[in-house]
Amino acid sequence: MFPHTRDTLLFFTLISLVGISVICLLFIIFYLVSESSIILSEINLRHYFFDDSWHPSENQFLLLPMIVGSLFITIGAMFLAIPLGIFTAILCQFYVPNWLSQSLQRIVEILSGIPSVVYGFWGVVVIVPLLATIQAPGTSLLAGVIVLTFIIMPGIVLIANNAFQNVEKMHLHNAIALGLSRYSIIRHIVFPSAQRGLLSGIILQSGRAIGETLAVLMVCGNVVQFPGNIFEPIRTLTSNIALEMAYAMDLHRSALFLSGLILMLVVLTLILLAERFELSTKTT
């Protein structure tokens, strides 16, 4: 294949190194599937949706409240973080002088590197007591949404900034030459051409939001229930795993792996979706 044996050797070493990542991924999926197959083979799918409660020791496996909790908290946080993030990015790109734009971007970059556990801790000591003055106990769906918003917002600003920067400069020059107003340029030129980049970035970010564990666990109260209003505590799929993994046995343990598998499937679907969007941008 190669004239030098050393090169052939190198090639095969490199290939096997690449293989490690792929094997890692396959192993993760394999473990999730094999561990959760124990419960899937014994307990019918409808039990996860129609059982009376989540009491694994009494063979009650109602996963639905946790799924709903995860969905609510993710959707809530995206609902707050997307407009805040996008408007901040527009401000950063089009409405402030260059030096301010640069420093804003630096600040957002730093924020995106702050560990989520720090945001969670801050939620515990500041946001939860604040909400408790409105309605006890403070640990609630709303607290989770607020903390999660903090965690994903820097990422959304970075994505939006990136998408706006990738807009063809020629289009902007043309629009300026045509005498369009700043609002029309942003609304009718920048936005449509940044749309796909924005969308694929936001989809990826929502995958991160749904997988967020400890920060959410710290502020949500972790009661397994369907929340009646936003001040009631909830438990998400991720925090359920983190809370019960330590002592779970047999079917219970398998049920936790099943919730891991559900999370993984959601995230993989989001990835494939985002990939689709990016591919279709490249071809156009």
């Binding site: 991924l25 192993f27 561990e35 408007f87 730093i110 609304r187 792996f257």
Partner: protein
């Protein structure tokens, strides 16, 4: 950034108003968070806090064992991940192009691996490294799990660096009759060393911020670890444990949060500095 014309029609004013509101909201929230941690954490921070053992479940005493565990976790995970990622990056950059199905498959696997929720990664680490490989709750298990998490980030960054080396160097090398082996190890890798260093630092930042994956792999013993087969609590897990399971541990958690944030801040400054150096070199 292109400066758009600033004609003040109504729509433009409204958009500018909304952007400023969102931008200042974002900034003031984060300023609040940062100064809160800075002021509250500063009271706790001292030489003794950093260099002494923790007492009374972390309420009193210092964080020396957590710093040592964190350091060992980082060191070990990078020692494991770096050779694998350099090899994979060389393969992807030098032996494939982006259109081949095999390289697309690997890239897709990498982006999937990158977005595995950290608690799912933790479950996998628990089932595979802790139980199946019988490593127990140990720094080694934690480091292996972390290594799997940071692999995609490292590979992506190192690959980008290699691709940014102009082809003229490869052509020169082959015109001189150098083997692929020599071209890679004596020309391309030395040229990429700053980029590899940058990737390394990004990996450190990511690994330091990780909590959920470590909970069930490296454990949360507050003792000073003797070997890598001992359980050890990382700084981020310490913050989590203090604010969730230790009543009255808040002040100490503020101190640890400040230490963690300062670390990540310096990492950000370092990456920025290196990034600028690399950019400057590629221009000249």
């Amino acid at each position: 950034m292109i400066l758009l014309p600033s004609n003040h029609n109504l729509a433009d004013r409204i958009l500018r108003f909304i952007c400023w509101i969102c931008g200042s909201l974002v900034l003031s929230f984060f300023a609040f968070l940062f100064f809160d941690i800075l002021i509250q954490g500063y009271e706790k921070l001292s030489i003794a806090y950093i260099f002494s053992n923790s007492l009374n479940a972390g309420r009193a005493g210092g964080i020396a064992p957590m710093l040592v565990s964190t350091f060992l976790l980082l060191l070990l995970s990078l020692v494991i991940a770096l050779p694998i990622s350099i090899g994979s990056a060389i393969y992807l950059a030098e032996y494939t192009n982006e259109k081949q199905w095999f390289s697309r498959f690997i890239r897709l696997s990498l982006s999937m691996l990158a977005s595995v929720p950290s608690i799912v990664m933790g479950m996998f680490g628990y089932a595979f490294f802790v139980i199946a490989l019988n490593l127990g709750f140990s720094i080694l298990s934690g480091a292996l799990t972390l290594a799997a998490m940071i692999l995609p980030l490292l590979i992506r960054n190192i690959e980008d660096t290699l691709r940014n080396i102009p082809d003229i160097h490869r052509l020169n090398a082959s015109a001189l009759g150098l083997s692929k082996f020599r071209t890679i190890f004596q020309i391309l890798l030395p040229m990429a060393n700053q980029g590899i260093f940058l990737a390394l630092i990004l990996g450190i930042g990511r690994a330091m911020a990780e909590t959920a994956a470590l909970l069930y792999t490296s454990g949360y013993v507050t003792r000073m670890p003797d070997t890598i087969f001992d359980s050890g609590r990382s700084l981020s897990v310490h913050i989590f444990d203090l604010s969730m399971n230790v009543p009255g541990g808040e002040q100490s958690a503020y101190g640890s949060a400040l230490v963690l944030v300062l670390f990540l801040l310096s990492i950000n400054i370092l990456t920025h500095w290196i990034g600028q150096k690399i950019q400057l070199r590629s221009i000249t």
